[in-house]
Symmetry: C2
Subunit: 225 residues, 2 copies
């Protein structure tokens, strides 16, 4: 028996993983970045095979990791987490630095970053796991706390997008209970739909400072469908 | 240029990873446990090749992960994190449950646990990465917060043991500064030595509620050597 709620007890941070070059770059929000050996330091990250960035990491052999701070705005997560690099230039308008390897590094909402050269690519099913040797790391803001996935879920009411390794079909989380009517609420700015049935909790129960996880629109502007 | 302090901005939890059977079992403290694919859920964990548990996971093909709660006592971390299964029966005297696969599961200080069958073993240098398919998961305490590596480091003043993927030679963390004398302080209960030079901060600067990371002895009992 699998209790999917138990999976939320695993602790993760939230990062923007970037790859490519000055000519063509892309990034996505990842919560699976972790050190796999200490000497010399190697890290791993998992990327859905359909992610645009997966192809860039394979082609360029380099990737960067930007550690997001706790107060990361919805712009950064909306752009890198919920849009596709196939139809958007996600790096356009962002603060980008190019590393020693030429890889783009996102500086928006970033407290530290790391740059890697891929040493191994492992097929783990729906995802590819890239293992990279650390070539450069730097702290940009030593006082800010890093954003954790738990904080993003609990306080910011965000969910992992469909291509994340930790994506959970929300119907698996809804405990059996008395029948009740669910409603949907739409963001007037970006069209994002908050589906009470899918989210497992009522729109009214969200805190007043809740904002659209995609574009940051305030809760009070949402329209009941 | 690598700034090793930047590596501490990556977020991890803290877990006891166990393997073996009723006859012969062992476990170690790990901070690298993470989901690698969502459907079906697979997780990965890294284990130093010299760890006693690495051999048990290879032989049995199963492992369990116990998520520790924030107020985990020094007994659990001291036993599983700083002792070797080669010369100690770490499971003796602990609360153990045996899972569907027969794997031992540590229940001490545990808020949730998961049980896995190994699907792949990857050699990543000094460590082995075991990828396992989730076969069972359960929450034991839904109110307690999970222990994070950051909390363990900052509040409990603990460091990763030498075999951890995130182990950092502390001399790499000490910033250049004026020469000063370092002292050592010994725990009268377990013999653990707090070395100011190695830790990078003075014993007096530790908070009053700091305790021995191995056995939990209070700070005021430590003896200056």
């Amino acid at each position: 028996m699998i209790d999917y709620e138990a999976l939320f007890k695993i602790t993760y941070g939230l990062y923007v993983v970037c790859s490519g070059s000055k000519e063509r770059g892309n990034g996505y929000v990842s919560n699976t970045v972790f050190q796999v050996t200490s000497e010399p330091p190697h890290f791993a990250t998992c990327c859905h095979k359909e992610n645009h960035t997966a192809g860039l990491i394979r082609d360029s052999g380099v990737f960067s990791v930007s550690v997001l701070h706790m107060d990361t705005g919805p712009d950064t997560i909306g752009t890198f987490g919920y849009k596709s690099g196939s139809d958007t230039d996600k790096l356009k308008g962002m603060q980008i630095r190019y590393g020693e390897t030429g890889v783009p590094i996102v500086l928006n909402d970033t407290i530290a970053y790391m740059e890697f050269r891929v040493t191994e690519t492992i097929d783990v099913g729906t995802h590819l796991m890239f293992i990279g040797k650390l070539v450069h790391s730097e702290i940009l803001d030593d006082d800010a706390e890093p954003l954790t996935y738990q904080y993003y879920r609990k306080v910011k009411k965000g969910f992992a997008p469909k291509n994340a390794p930790t994506y959970i079909d929300r119907s698996k989380l809804v405990k059996p209970g008395p029948a009740r009517e669910y409603a949907k609420y739409q963001c007037p700015s970006c069209g994002y739909i908050y589906d009470e049935k899918e989210e497992g909790s009522r729109f009214e129960e969200l805190p007043d400072n809740w904002v659209c996880p995609v574009c940051g629109e305030v809760k009070s502007e949402f329209i009941k469908l």
